[in-house]
Symmetry: C2
Subunit: 131 residues, 2 copies
């Protein structure tokens, strides 16, 4: 049974501006990578067992662009690894916790995930992934 | 040289509402604790090498209350441990990175910290503490 903060997804207007501080601190920043279907360009900054994921929109109709237009730059979501995702989702649904979608989805690379709505977490969009 | 995400400070209206999801997921939630001079009541939720810190204001003029009034509930700051805080601060100042205060402060328990302004980090208030 281990939980872990997998990454913090941070919506930024400019990757080059946002990543600069992490480089200055001496952290390693990955090469830029584009995820076409999510309309984002991203870099990853590993920090201990976790990482920052800086997300820059590549299109005005991307989720991240809309987030920035509404809220400004900043934390978009927190992703936490959980030891038993199906059991966690069952428990949350039974207790009336609001999920963004009712079923577990499968993302790139086959990882399983679900998003918990911010109204149930104190304002943080919380992604749960199978450890 | 090790970096680590020490905690995520999350501003919430109600500790009992916000902590419930973490309990449902099977995480341990600390007893509630009040920090008088910061006018907050808090619980900590350890997750791997990091933790969530849920912060509920105890007064309308607390920093956390003002944050919630302006932005709503959600992430207030990210705290990262760095291996050499004085060197990091020197480097950031030299490079024109905006800090909330120019000097390293000493908090409860003697820990040393500095806050980097969100304009320099992609919208996240970033606390740096000495490892």
């Amino acid at each position: 049974m281990t939980f872990q903060i997998d990454h913090l997804g941070i919506a930024v207007k400019s990757l080059s501006a946002a990543k600069s501080i992490y480089e200055k601190l001496g952290l390693s920043v990955s090469a830029e990578e584009t995820v076409e279907h999510e309309k984002v360009r991203l870099v990853m900054v590993p920090v201990g067992e976790s990482r920052f994921e800086l997300l820059e929109p590549t299109s005005e109709d991307s989720t991240i662009a809309k987030f920035i237009a509404k809220r400004g730059e900043g934390l978009h979501h927190v992703c936490m690894k959980v030891p038993d995702l199906p059991a966690a989702v069952e428990r949350l649904k039974k207790d009336g916790v609001r999920l963004v979608s009712e079923e577990i989805k499968v993302g790139a690379g086959g990882h399983q995930y679900v998003f918990v709505h911010p109204t149930s977490t104190g304002g943080v969009l919380l992604e749960l992934v199978q450890e």
